[in-house]
Amino acid sequence: MPSEDPLLEVAGLHKAYGDHVVLDGVDLSVDAGQVVALIGPSGSGKTTVLRSLNGLERPDGGTVRIGEVAVDFGARQDRAAEDRLRRQSAMVFQQHNLFPHLTVLQNVIEGPVRVQGRPRDEAVAEARALLDRVGLAAREDASPLRLSGGQQQRVGIVRALALRPRLLLFDEPTSALDPELVGEVLGVIKELAQQGWTMLIVTHELAFARDVADDVVFLDGGRIVERGPAGVVLREPREERTRQFVERLLRPF
């Protein structure tokens, strides 16, 4: 339940490509330890919201605050502040985007060692512990290309965790996976939720959202249409558009 001091606070986020408005004033807050699922039709702007938090997109206007780092995208660009903001979160991509020329372990420690300047031994030890938690301890020397899709995505999650972010962002983490591999990835995300990680998840897996997310946010046309506890939004949504979308996902034929 929203407290007075959310970890993530987004206000009036706006983004357009030419005439095409992608984000039309998005307000969103996520408390520490809260898991929020973003759902909505393709083109609704849910992925753009996520990418805006991690510096992969630059909004035209609005403010984002994560912890004590705030950026006003409507003001003159402050690169240092935007850099600090992007370091507060870490993202798990739809297409894992692991580095194919590095081993699994190297993928995980690249950020901590090369970017954050942490001691290599410490980063390796932490990476091994994390890989062990997702059942991939034995594969640390493998090339990511030799792993299954589910394993690749679990390494992607570990790579994000190793950055010690305050906020984890998931961009449709299971959409590119074969159906039989979805479970192992969702299982890991669920464990992270139980461990108290703050997470924002763009997903089409409604059953998973209901199971893991505290709140579900429905976006359409670059605006937040509805937000509420997962069980409520997915079972008895207030808005007609939400109801239609949920029905379409549950009964595609």
């Binding site: 985007n97 194919p100 690249e110």
Partner: protein
Amino acid sequence: MDLDYELLRRAFWPLVKGALLGTIPLSLISFALGLTIAIVVALMRISRHRWLSGPGRAYVSIVRGTPLLVQLLVIFYGLPEVGVTLDPWPTAILAFSFNVGGYAAEIVRAAILSVPRGQWEAAHMIGMTRSTTLRRIILPQAARVSVPPLSNTFISLVKDTSLASLVLVGEMFRRGQEIASQSSQFLVVYIEAAAIYWAICLLLSAGQSRLEKRLERHAV
């Protein structure tokens, strides 16, 4: 036609020496410098700044739009005009590096662009700057992609160095010309030189296959 075996035998060692002391070092040095130029120019060309991408594009256009022989002679005769007098070797190295740089720049640029966008995004996500991303993530992957086309460029270069005979570099073909004109049996000596060029290129092709296999083993 009677083959003059005595001439073949007599020409062989000078030709091989010309290859070892001329053709091969000239190719290696020019390729190394050319590749360095190519990486710089490729980065200029993918830059968002016009003042970098513009000159890069112009350079590539000039190199590809003019004959190598003309480039070589313009440098050979042109530099002394502006007060720069270079020995044959530096002249040839300059011309060949300049030429290889233009062709290899396009290869390197295409290879960089072939690395999926997601790699840039993942590097950005873990906090890397653009230059670190290039060095640690993009160029190593681009290097793999560019081995076959760069091998091609290198093999062309080895053969093109025969043009350096015109600016008095003592590479294999010039040695061949000297021997041929003494004996006035041009065909025999030139075919022998051609065979040695071919042999060098066969070795290089074999080396390319081995390199590709090695990179593949690491990649998959």
